[in-house]
Symmetry: D2
Subunit: 425 residues, 4 copies
């Protein structure tokens, strides 16, 4: 792919951002692109339900929402692949088989965000005509560039003398921490010896490469539903079983779960809702909370404590509470050997003027599911940062990437994969 091709693909994806499990157009477009560029060179191209372990999808939206996005993709004219994705089974795994050698994986995520994109004249996508056509949705975290990098690296490896197997995991639903598990539970990850994952930006400027990113916080989302009994607030307050009082007690005490000496923890009650009318003792309430930990164990500590708080708060107000895990990801660590290769390759890559050995993400990512799966099988994994000048922060309305960095990412990844093919890990 020429630099123009890369820009063109990235912008096509940018114009049609699709949030988690609704990457219908995106998946179809990637599939079409791969088929036209690589055709028979691909040993396999697993699409939708064949790419993921469907039972392990987390945080899937409701049917009405899926259908609305599905129909929108159809209107964009990508029919033939689309049917295979119906019901929110998005994503793809592309496989190149190039003889004896290690199996190397590359994971890129492809979903957009529920974020309105800026139409300010100094916002490049608006100025240059590739602003989101899906109002309220936006590629505000660079996954359009990630998908493009995935396609680009595949083509470059196909053209190289890499010996071994190379797989690209086009993962859906990263933004809701919902797709990593489904991909990690699929068979495709089983034989991977070395896994690379990549993220653009993260406050690193164009020309900077982070060889190995760590500091992934393990995360779990808790959906809790309190059920009490409504009653007339004026006439019979004593007959109510007040789900909002239970909820408020829970919120107060969730934030009060003790810090842990083993490392950083996090707790947030991100969404609350309850009751029906001013004059009715509220009989129902729900919260969506999130816990994190520097390690998976710390996340579990927060989770267990949270459940205790939620249960006791319900009990206190004679309510019941039910739980559901909305999304979840473990922590993970980049392997030093792989990071050394990346650093070495990056140091010799044109356009790269600074290489950092490591950095902390300080957030959560469900690439960790795939990293852990590979590491538990005896393989190695590494999460690579590709610097890009971004005018404003990730997840903001004026986020944008420097398209030059797409090439840097492709160069560093291709070089690393070739080196692994040549030297093993």
């Amino acid at each position: 792919m020429t630099a123009d091709d890369l820009v063109s693909l990235r912008r096509a994806l940018h114009r049609r951002p699709e949030p988690a499990w609704r990457e219908f157009y995106t998946t179809a477009r990637i599939v079409t692109e791969l088929e036209s560029r690589l055709g028979d060179e691909l040993a396999d191209l697993h699409v939708g339900p064949e790419a993921i372990a469907s039972d392990h999808r987390l945080a899937v939206p409701d049917d009405a929402d899926l259908t609305r996005w599905y129909d929108r993709a159809r209107e964009a004219g990508v029919d033939d692949v689309l049917e295979r994705l119906a019901g929110g089974y998005t994503g793809a795994v592309a496989v190149l088989e190039r003889g004896a050698g290690p199996t190397v994986g590359l994971r890129v995520d492809i979903d957009g965000l529920p974020q309105q994109e800026s139409d300010a004249p100094d916002h490049a996508p608006a100025a240059d005509g590739f602003r989101s056509e899906h109002e309220g949705a936006m590629h505000a975290c660079g996954h359009d560039a990630h998908a493009t990098i995935g396609v680009g690296v595949l083509e470059r490896i196909a053209e190289s003398d890499f010996a071994g197997t190379f797989k690209v995991f086009f993962q859906p639903a990263e933004e809701v921490v919902g797709g990593g598990k489904a991909m990690a539970e699929s068979d495709h990850i089983r034989d991977v010896d070395a896994l690379l994952a990549v993220h653009i930006g993260l406050d690193h400027p164009t020309g900077e490469i982070v060889a190995g990113i760590d500091g992934f916080l393990a995360v779990s989302h808790i959906h809790a539903e309190f059920t009490g009994e409504p009653a007339h607030a004026g006439g019979h307050p004593e007959q109510g079983r007040n789900a909002v009082q239970a909820m408020a007690t829970a919120v107060q005490n969730l934030y009060g779960i003790p810090r842990h000496n083993d490392g950083a923890t996090r707790i947030n009650v991100g969404v609350v809702e309850g009751g029906s009318a001013a004059n009715v003792i509220p009989g129902d309430a729900r919260v969506v909370a999130e816990v994190r930990g520097e390690t998976t164990e710390l996340m579990e500590y927060m989770k267990q404590r949270s459940r205790r708080v939620l249960r006791s708060a319900a009990e206190m107000h004679d309510c019941t509470v039910s739980f559901e895990t909305g999304a979840e990801a473990p922590s993970a660590t980049s392997d030093g050997e792989l990071a050394s290769i990346v650093a070495d390759v990056a140091g010799q890559t044109a356009g790269v003027d600074r290489v950092l050995e490591r950095d902390d993400l300080g957030g959560s990512e469900d690439a960790t599911f795939l990293m852990k799966a590979v590491q538990e099988n005896g393989g190695t994994a590494c999460y690579i940062g590709v610097g890009t000048d971004h005018p404003t922060g990730h997840h903001t309305a004026t986020f944008d990437v420097d398209e030059a960095s797409i090439g840097h990412g492709i160069d560093v990844l291709t070089g690393t994969i070739e080196r692994i093919g040549a030297e093993g890990v």
Copy 2:
């Protein structure tokens, strides 16, 4: 009106229940009915914005909602009156002028509830074909009967030799405590010497009359909106200003406002809502709370304390909070002299087999605005209970009235009004 006419009107209204400020069909139907039955006998028939002090409407729904119900009324074919009600200016005041004598008022409320009506075969409206045609709305508190009583009494007084002026206030939006103030602030109440208000049921069986109801709890609805600052829950929890923590602190402490030695108080946080996503420190939250007091002073005590709690809870979490009063009604007392007349008349009314001197409502009602307005002008007021066998409680899906009680109500009210005309108060 014959008994059949009364039943027929009540059922027509029952079929088309309309919630607060959306009584388009209901008002139009009442107006049509009055014009056809009384025509030129009416000295005045004030409709919509002429019946109420428009600036004093409380708890008015948004335009989209008003429009939806307006259009629904138009489809039901009541066009000509309808235009005068556009924008949610519902209700009517009908006036009979019958020479020198006192001005007597009768207040009846006309709105329905946001309550799904039962379709069980033993629920009379369902069995007899006059169940609500507005899914999700229902006359579950007997205001269909109240409106019918209002029309019936007007016709009876028109036929009687009552001397004086008689006004019926067909009041909208009682269920949200939103219409009483607008009617009490209109000029129509100014010259009323004696005001009667009426409610059917209230756990009294058919044949029972309560001469004077008291125990109206003063009520006020507080809409509070907390505004903080969202932040990434994993990356920068310390940068958030957490509106949900503020809200939870407020809820805990609102319910903890001390009881008052002067009488009963109530507090309820009926609706809460806040936040946007699990991984975002919630930057906004809102609550709808309700306070009540056995007296207006006690309600004010609860209101002042609530505001203090809400303000300090916001301050504690570095948020701001804004308030709006959603609806409000004072407490009031039925005057003994009027109640004596009612009791006396009721004792001589066919079908009435038991007369109670007084009873407590134990809830709130915005008829109190009109009662207080009259009393402050030196007049008297009395709130009358008309027993009716109701299979299940007010505000439930299977509430229904015994239509025989409509006649009892009309008889007692007519007799009382005639007596006032004859003897003064």
Copy 3:
């Protein structure tokens, strides 16, 4: 007793106020007084453990405290009776048997308060030399007058031609709601046909009598002890089980127990305590809470809800909680027939210029235990108010009584008892 005798006795008691279960001097002095005045006329004089059901004492102070007061009484020189009271078994029941007739009881309470008495020159006890000699303790509620009335009525009945049995219950520990139960569980109350109780003051001036006081709030004291696990707050906060967090959660939610539609309720967390040092996660905490209800049922409602809150708060923070009932009293009602007799007698009593049929106490009193015991046995009971000019409120440092009202109380009670003897109830 002459008026001077009454004043002299009252002042002697006033000088030596003793709080609950420590009425050693007081009991001994009453016993001595009765023996010297009535001697053989008394059929029985039950003292200390013979006057009460010892196992039912509530809110008894610790041994060290009892001993300190016991020793103080000994120093005041009342040795011979004293030994019978050792261990905090105070109080007495004096019995006159005067032939066939009803058994009438009179209950007076005798304890002082832990309140420093004023030494201001315009405070009569200070000016006239009978201010409390026990620093930090004071007769600030008139029980010195009550005890004097008890002695006075006994002497008057002994001199009268009353036919029947008359018992005076000199009850200890009213101020902590701790003595009523022990006296009500004794055999002495069993045969009482009509019980009178008396209180001076209560904001009624000298010359006013309240024939029947009602509105006793039922009350219960809850001592709750939270036990968790301390831990180093810096080194291992996650290892603590935080009893203070449990306590704070409980406090917040105790005050939030819903109001009840059946009548007034009260909740207070009067004392809290917990933890050991700033840098130790607190492993223990305790609260003393009080619940009240307009009826015994309402008090029980508050008690059950409180226990649920306390249990769940402990559970939430992985602590345990244990309960103890510190003191308790039911509600009660004065019987109308008895009150009528009192009103009638009072109306004819010199010095009484106003008789109120009834009034509400609006507080708690453990005379209710004795009232209920008599009422449950088929007898009647009445709580009488004797007005007295008191310069400041009960339980304040400058409370004092108008000694003339002691005579009014004796006159009204004597007259009532004679009437009951003559006419029955």
Copy 4:
């Protein structure tokens, strides 16, 4: 000093543990020991108010407590020095001047803990007759050994050919984080070029040396006093301004202060107290809270947020709150150069079989005040760990040290100080 001398001094101090600012015997004993051993060799021996900046003492106990311990020390017969310490001005600074060269400081702390010492037969101090003679107080953190090391090193340096100035800071009140500031604000620290501090144990066994300890959490103690208004809980709950409700609201929200992305924070409400009686709305309450941070900035963040919570909680319940800082210490870091010298010396010390470059304290220590004072003046500082086999954890009833490690500490410190004298830093 022979090994026997060291053991003998340590045991003498162990027998008379004295908590913060009450180290009367301890200071006097150290002074006596130094005078007898070093006499004229000491250039200066600053005692009590001459050793510290008196105005900067934190967390000083009340006079009664000071006097009790002072009298106890007098009884132990250490009169002559004692008078200089009256009022809780404890501690000493001993100075050796040995010609031109750097000024080296050594800080040792000398206070005991309010902890009952075990009398179990397998607890060495109990078995060997040097268990605490002060019931309820104990050297449960090894400061008896620290003081002994201080004396031992002074004597060794006096005997060595060290060139420069050497000062030992015998610091009081470390356990309450109260003495470090007073010593750091004195003039004695101003000219120190290199400061060493030492702690025994910390879970390191005998024979292990930690060359440089870091991870000191900055700490601050907040004493907050809520003042409201008491009221009768039954009669007039609405008149109270409830300080316990304010306190409970504060506790709930203090623990809920958000975690910070820059590093570890801590919060604890270690002591609470409030109210007077079950039936009185509590008008006063107080809390002692502690905040910590991995850096001084993080501690300040916690402190600012805590004050906001406390202020708003008071405001919410119409109370006032006043603050006092009980104790405070910054964070600090051991300098690498000094640590390298320590490691090097330790590696050549007999009895030392393992040297760790660094370790984290994970707690707070007010040696940081002195370390920062030196570092801000351009000097260097290092906190050294000396392993000792301790049967149970610090601050437990059966804590004890392996007396052999006292010698290791003296050897390593002496060697390090000589090296600094010879080579500078």
